[in-house]
């Protein structure tokens, strides 16, 4: 019984941890972002937060973290985001975040450049990264 509870707790905490968090470089002066700021950055409506210029990065379109991130932060599905960006592209108002090839690349890039902002699974957060928003 005890074992069962522990394993349940472990699974629970694992699922809790398997959630994308928004990260910037550990050397960034940013501390925390609000949900509105994260939305505006990843919607292409702003290029700054607290005076820091930020470029958002996306995980590959097929990744579960990306789907989960947009569902949690914007409440939008992959198709809805695609339709949103079609509107933005053809109005000349902006382009979607640049796509990295893997979460390894995401960690490496965000960790090395203070002007990138991305999201990764909480378990992948390296010492070079700083979590600025948890959905």
């Amino acid at each position: 019984m005890k074992k069962w509870i522990i394993s349940l707790l472990l699974t629970l905490s694992a699922t809790l941890h398997a959630e994308p968090v928004v990260v910037v470089s550990a050397s960034s002066e940013l501390t925390m972002l609000t949900q509105d700021e994260v939305r505006q950055l990843f919607n292409g409506l702003t290029r700054r937060a607290s005076g820091v210029a930020l470029k958002p990065l996306d995980l590959p379109a097929q990744s579960a973290e990306r789907t989960g991130f947009y569902q949690r932060v914007m409440g939008k599905s992959a198709e809805q985001m695609k339709s949103y960006w079609a509107r933005m592209i053809f109005t000349g108002r902006g382009m979607p975040p640049r796509e990295v090839s893997s979460d390894r690349e995401m960690v490496m890039l965000v960790g090395s450049n203070r002007n990138f902002i991305g999201y990764v699974d909480e378990t992948k957060v390296s010492p070079q990264l700083k979590v600025v928003y948890r959905p």
């Binding site: 939305r39 409440g75 198709e79 079609a86 053809f90």
Partner: protein, 411 residues
Amino acid sequence: MGKALSVVLGASLGISPLWAIAAESDVEQTLRDYQQRLEKLEQQQVESSLTQPERLRINGFLSAGMSRAEADTTLGDDGSYIDGSGDKWSHDSLTRAGVQFNAQLTDKAEAVVQLFASGADDFNAEVQWAYLDYDVTESVSVKAGRIVAPFYLHSQYVDVGYAYPWVSLPSEVYQLAPIKTMEALEATWGFNTGPVSHRLSGFWGSSTVDGGPRTNNAQYQADDLAGMNLTSRWRDWTVRAAYSAADVSVGQDDLDALIPATALGLSFDEVYTYFAGLGLQYDDGSWFMSGEVARLDFGNWYPSSQSAYVSLGKYMGKWMPLVTWAEVDPRDLDSSLPGPINDGLAEQQKSWTAGLRYSLTDSIALKGEFSYYYDFSDDEVSTTGFFVTDPGAEMEDDHATIVRLSADLVF
């Protein structure tokens, strides 16, 4: 012999770890160095490709549609809708495609060209947009050239069917002023007030607007076309207010083809005309709501109009049912004009549309729509709304229907 061999073997095995360890650590060190250098190179490459803007970006859209109208008139012949829908299945009216090229000239200047072809125009490719976009500061940009006439909430992507849930945008509002592009100078300021993002634009230019089949393709020349609009977004809400005005002229020949203007002593020369629109949208990924009101007001005897629509849709996985109500109403009819002139020029109708959108893949959508149009005439005026009929005809039983289907994609 066997013993000797085993001794030798044993010795060599015993010894080998010694030199092997030394060699291995060398190799490992070298490997580690290589790996580090490789990672660094990879990082530099990826980083520079991400920080440097792409020189040229190409995006395209395509809509393949078909439609059929059931519009009996009192004179026997069927009417057709201004989008080209008639009594036989039409594959041209809703079919269109475009390719947009965005070329980054410097880190502040961008050239944008959009080629567009539509079935309504026999697929003659034309340059729909061609402009230079210059970032004066990070939040202020200026566009010059052939640009979108920003009259409506969804003006900027009216041809990109994939970008909205309707097969075609509610015509009562979107065909009120059938202007799509203009030659103009436009300045836009983007700013945020807390969680609300705003875009304020002002423009000045001119445009020649083809009135389409409902006006025998009369050309409306809009000079000193100037306007302001503000779009504000907060979370799932978008609000847009727009006001534009111009001096509009219509050639006497075009006017005479429409009504006996010369005989009545009517002309249409540099008439102050304004367009005002207000739009509201809500989209939380689960529900979709969009509504707009618009008014087109001519400062002379020509009938002014007011129109509105409201749409409500529900996202259900890959499906999205949508229902729309719309109306267009003539305003300020000049009572000194003979009744038939007002009847011929004024446009009155209401409509209910039920639609369904299906996401085939994340870049292809299939859509279908059924529209019921009614209330073309009342005590004051007797019109055929946006249906084109033989002169003097009225809509049979004061109603008509249209079915529209389309496949929309972006690439």
